[in-house]
Subunit: 318 residues, 2 copies
């Protein structure tokens, strides 16, 4: 029913704007560009309007050079917002929501339904899976460039098909994308084999600080402000660093300590089996889940490390 | 036709031995255990005989604790060899080929057809894909433990669905395995988040030697015998190290230098676009492909590094 309403609405519209969230990722860009390319192919006057720059690794995707920044564009028949939980996440592009008919398509369960039509499918691993269905229903041919956009959306939002959101349907869709011309090894080269030099230098620095405690059941990586500055890496490059410490067979709890500013330390905690790192984080005013938690603690890197190690060792001894 | 002969032969056999290659990997173990579990379920008297120990990360798979070493077993109706290109790769287990009816199932194009029936499908990404078909044709129920074995075979031989052998059919099969109960995130945890401490220490040491040359177009990692000894890592742990140097956006050629013994240096070379590293390797008596090549050179680490850097810079300047 919702699908049919959306298809009708798109078919009767000519001037269409596609919006997505700030700090774009593989799914927001991949699903938006797939729909953009498909609608363009069908003859619509379509614009993909985005607040932020498109990350370098996604600039090989068809249409990525035709993205517009929010500006004095008017007269849209419909606005399609993709992969975006609420109006705020659209940044400046949210201005297009006023006095326009809004179709809101997303897979985040937290989506607050800000559109006139809302298609929120939490069982889809990526918004790209929903857009795959939309393009099929619009009967627009799935050419290679469109399939590459959808593949990018799905492979990134499933963490290379490893997260628990990966379903039978995910693989069914991806198989079809391959059938339609996607070159899998080329996609991996573009998306995953293009780290910045600074990121690798950051990993090198982070690993140089790797230590083991408590009979190797605890691993710890720490980064000072000065080390961060030396590597010239971006703050977002520290994402995933804690996994290097966690993904070791003997390790039960991994700790990642990062100096945010002098005297203010961010602590990330991961555990595998029994250890409850949320309980540890709670003792320092933080929180999280049993296997993934964090807190921000005052002190020097050495002081905070000492306190956290003690608390984790206690938790392991329980 | 071949499939039907194999199905008939298996159905009319009671005592069956499954063999696979030495230095077992995810596909050899996953496909063999899948068939072992399926035949056991159907009531056959089946043994999975293997020369080497099963790597630790695969010991969560059903049946991995019932593997037998080659010994005085007799009276087999058929021998099924899986994922093995020739008799030699079977190690001591090759003794069972004598005076027995042998079914040889593999996906390596180089397979020399040593069986009485040979099912060699080079279009399958993994032997596990062929075994999936065999179990379906045998009409044995695909339960979760069997599906986990097949998933392991396929995810490892496709490098997490990234190599060019990954097809429409690969994803179709994997989707079905998920439908039959495979917990994807659990599988990744078991297979990919269980590095040895020594391997991480090796990566740490390797990255500490990472250098850039030629305006960052060349990256180089080197490991001396002494460093290898210090990390206590195994020789096989160096696999993939060169990718750390290659997967950087500015890098065109990555070099990995490893001291095999005093005065004997192994060099690995990877390139991305135009640079022909096979031509470089050839100059030092080695060989390979345009984007992946290697050679073994006499000298100290520093000497060989200097010579290789010079040759790579020349190749880049062509």
């Amino acid at each position: 029913m919702i699908f049919q309403s959306i298809i009708s609405k798109i078919k009767e519209s000519n001037k269409i704007a596609i919006l997505s969230h700030i700090m774009p990722d593989g799914d927001s860009i991949g699903s938006s560009l797939a729909l953009y390319n498909a609608l363009k192919k069908s003859g619509a006057d379509v614009r993909f309007i985005l607040d932020d720059e498109i990350p370098k690794i996604y600039r090989f995707l068809e249409g990525s050079d035709r993205i517009r920044r929010p500006g004095q564009f008017e007269g849209f028949d419909i606005i399609i917002a993709l992969d975006c939980g609420d109006a705020e996440r659209l940044g400046k592009s949210s201005l297009y929501l006023n006095n326009n008919y809004v179709i809101n398509i997303d897979h985040h369960v937290s989506n607050n339904g800000f559109g006139n039509i809302n298609l929120i499918d939490k069982d889809s691993a990526a918004t790209g899976e929903i857009i795959y269905d939309i393009i099929k229903l619009l009967e627009i041919e799935m050419d290679r460039p469109i399939c590459e956009c959808l593949y990018t959306a799905i492979v990134t939002d499933t963490g290379q098909f490893q997260y628990s959101n990966t379903t039978f349907r995910t693989h069914q869709i991806v198989g079809d994308l391959i059938n339609n011309g996607v070159n899998v090894s080329l996609m991996f080269e573009k998306i995953y084999q293009n780290n910045s030099k600074e990121k690798i230098v950051l990993i090198k620095t982070a690993l140089s600080t790797l230590e083991f405690f408590h009979n190797d059941a605890i691993s710890c990586i720490s980064l000072t402000l000065e080390q961060m500055k030396e590597t010239k890496a971006m703050d977002e490059d520290t994402e995933g660093i804690i996994n290097l410490a966690r993904d070791i067979d003997c390790v039960e709890v991994a700790i990642f300590i990062k100096e945010l500013e002098p005297g203010k330390i961010k602590v990330g905690l991961r555990s595998k089996k029994k250890a409850d790192v949320a309980a540890v984080a709670l003792r320092f005013g933080g929180g999280g889940h049993v296997h993934a938690a964090g807190c921000t603690v005052k002190g020097t890197v050495a002081e905070v490390k000492g306190k956290i190690l003690e608390a984790v060792a206690e938790e392991l001894g329980r």
